[in-house]
Symmetry: D2
Subunit: 299 residues, 4 copies
């Protein structure tokens, strides 16, 4: 069976012009839901969906995702943000409010493998990825002819050991500050701490995962030698710790003794595509809160 968890990217909330989404995290205490819902009620908003999670009722963290409708949202959202900050300050909230009608902008970084990039382009083409793909950036020219028919700008920014710092400056310039996510769709360069800091909790990476794990080189060959029955992929936010950032989504696929190393790599690519597409969809639908080194995913 296909994962139910893919559904959210397939469930098109009728994106009304007056629909807003709030993400809130703060230390738990009684009265948070009351304060937020009272605020929205007095504003004339109607909560159409809410999902809450409290990490530990005794002194833990409180997380909530709220969708609400508000008449003439577009012209009132700035004032709403200003007014809500009073409530937010009282409870020491980390919070964000975004408009469902305002598509997220994403930049895709890619190297020479096309599978993760293509999956995102096809989801976007089929209206299953509800975002604008603002650009594709690559350290190689290979994907240009594939990307441009989609009408998406392609920036070839070569990276060598010598030019790494300069290349990253170029990337920063091209990406700018107006992106909601940078998706590393098999981008085979290490991103610097300062770049990561600039786009904290906005850079999404995908990599293969095994059960159990295999350290060292050639993980697929190791997995094949051990005769694993399952291989997987992990999508996570990028932090300074290589492949150690908060996990957004994981999934696996069954393999058998009939699959050789090449088969495992092919199946690995397949599951990477699926997991990355889900992670990006949840990110652009404001379904993820990062807390310490883990995610709360409302889906």
């Amino acid at each position: 069976m296909e994962q139910g968890s893919t559904n959210n990217s397939l469930r098109r909330e009728s994106v009304m012009v007056n629909r807003a989404r709030m993400l809130i995290s703060c230390p738990d205490q009684p009265g948070i839901v009351a304060a937020v819902s009272q605020f929205l009620f007095e504003y004339g908003a109607n909560i159409v969906q809410s999902d809450q999670y409290t990490m530990d009722p005794e002194g833990g963290m409180f997380f909530i995702r709220i969708e609400f409708d508000l008449m003439e949202l577009g012209s009132r959202v700035d004032q709403l943000r200003k007014d809500f900050s009073v409530v937010a300050d009282k409870f020491s909230m980390d919070w964000s409010l975004s408009l469902a009608s305002q598509k997220k902008r994403i930049a895709i970084f890619v190297s020479k493998e096309d599978h993760a990039l293509l999956e995102l382009l096809w989801h976007w083409r089929a209206s299953d990825l509800n975002a604008d793909i603002a650009m594709v950036i690559s350290n190689h020219p290979d994907m240009q002819s594939l990307v441009e028919p989609f009408g998406i700008p392609y920036h070839h920014i070569p990276v060598t050991a010598d030019t790494k710092a300069e290349a990253e400056r170029r990337q920063l310039e091209v990406v700018g500050d107006n992106v909601d996510a940078i998706v590393l769709a098999r981008y085979m360069q290490i991103v610097s701490p300062s770049f990561i800091k600039h786009y904290a909790n906005r850079i999404i990476n995908i990599h293969h995962s095994f059960l159990p794990a295999f350290v060292g080189g050639k993980p697929y060959a190791q997995a094949h030698n051990r005769g694993v029955k399952i291989i997987g992929a992990t999508a996570h936010y990028v932090t300074d710790e290589l492949d150690g950032g908060p996990i957004i989504e994981q999934d696996v696929q069954r393999v058998s003794h009939r699959d050789n190393v090449e088969d495992l790599k092919r199946i690995g690519r397949h599951i990477e595509r699926i997991v990355l597409a889900r992670a990006v969809a949840w990110h652009v639908e404001d379904r993820i809160i990062v807390h310490n080194n883990k995610t709360v995913v409302f889906n």
Copy 2:
């Protein structure tokens, strides 16, 4: 992969003595969440989980499940119920409030097949079914020796065409009014409308399901002749319409040309067990609201 949806029956919420669960449904209008959360806040309760769903923002129904903690809940719950009814009346709510520490009581009805019964007994034995199995009732004596080692009373109430009404009177008497669910674990007798009415939205049934469906007798033989690749099971609340009540849960299992009719029946039993166990777990954890002929399942 095992369904994530099984997790809830496996996720033991630390059943604190002060934890309560509310289920509310009412016509949607602004201010419901505010009113409920304000009420709970003023009572000193702390909402630890809430999940809301609005069927249609324009004039639809509003559904919410809330878990909250309240000091000395046991001694205050009667007053809380009384006080909340004022809020509830204002919004024309259907609502229920139950204590997580108060185990639900269930009665299991069974005929001659043991698989669904055994699954429930084993889940209960492994503490995965958080309820008291108050009794097993059967129109046959066969299961008695299987049930009694679990320390559960077994009532043999034979049913024939002539004694059906009398048998149902006996069942009503034995079951009484103090049960939260009657589980038809392959009980092969039709239950009367008056019995159903007495236990409305509390009788859970399980039956096989196919993709596509096969009408008429011997559905497994028909499915085999057509070479189906998937067979399933459906758990639902019992209504007057035979097998037509609100669906609680469904699941399927893959089959192949290698499976003969007997194999299909065996696999059908396996999936019936799993689906029924999930439905019962969600029911006793107050995760289900019935609205018209469908369910809202918060899981």
Copy 3:
């Protein structure tokens, strides 16, 4: 977890020039495997994979799929076929022998919905569908601009009640006899019995399926009203009985009360894509034997 059953279309058997695939079905009797394997051994062939299934050891049918390697297969295959027919006749075999290096040719029929067509085009583009898409035929012009960038000929053959017979003559002419499969990728016209007969066991269709089934119009609305938790799709060979031909593959996806009718349709399209792509992959990899109204799928 992604179905293991998708793996076969992802498992690229290294398509050596000397690899052949045989499919055999015949009444079971002792000595079939011995005769076939002895024949291949004497020819100098090496069996690299075989999968056998006997429907009923007592007087049932015997089915086998064999992959073997034979030096200089290309120049010897005609003689091999001639020589093998002696063995085949002795056991009253239905059989086929195809070269792994010879890509199957498929024609895709489509109307106005693009999802099933796109899935096949993308699988083909990603080298996951190991076949030549020889042409796309549609009763509408809508898909032309989508198909042609892939370098695939597009034939617009309008169909009206009056021109149905003439249109089918055109289709027969355009498709010709040199196709291994006609894929109805949401082609919304009924195909005539004579057309079906011409391409017997070569026309593959996809349609939605429910658990339980809903007869009459608007199946998704009916499924929504009943609150189904699972929706599915069925791929089958087309026979004269509408949607009643041998089932090749089925799969399902979990849905919930949160999904409205439009969501169900969207998810339905998603699962249709996946199931159709698997069925076509298995067909072109010679993994399917049709027997009476069911399939034996070696995967």
Copy 4:
């Protein structure tokens, strides 16, 4: 969806008295299938199922599982084994032949956790595990009252650092040579190399697995801190390398941020039960060949 891969333990091959199963592995060369099938044909046997796998057509290994029926198998099997050894020697085969009617005998080792043991007992009780559970051995007395109602002998053999060698002598004595599998159902003692050698490829262990892996102590706490979305279990044959033996089966279950460390452990136990039960079922149905450090599983 439940894994299709569970089906084999649910698919009761009609265990006829004349049904035999062969497992063969040998270096690949042309003519193996011909020789084996010719031998069986001349003996009057009828092959009812066969599944073959060649690791690498160029100089690799050949593996086959064959089920065949032979009249009066019981009285002829000794002669058949003798006669077949001529064929086997010619191709340097490792091979085994067993009677489907002869139930495998298994011994279960357990410590203080009951979940894996109970799963096996319940599968056995429901006739889903087609074997005789000859005994349960434990280093603790705790499970005795649980095991004995099933009519299975329970041997309490305490193990301490000082008595380890002596305890293992006792275990060897009690288990004896007439067991087909020793199942470590959460047996928390390390088994010595000499014990492993005595029961080579017959000792099956189960342990938790993560994606990615977490080294060091408290793996569930580590997994929770990282916010994993999937946890799993691995069943494998025991070798001298701790938890490094040939993998028989793996599976996973989805978890979320809502699951605390205790939830993860509970879900981990659930998936361990399922994976271990599958591995044992495949072992007793002669579906597994071990080659180097990996398994070929015919299912």
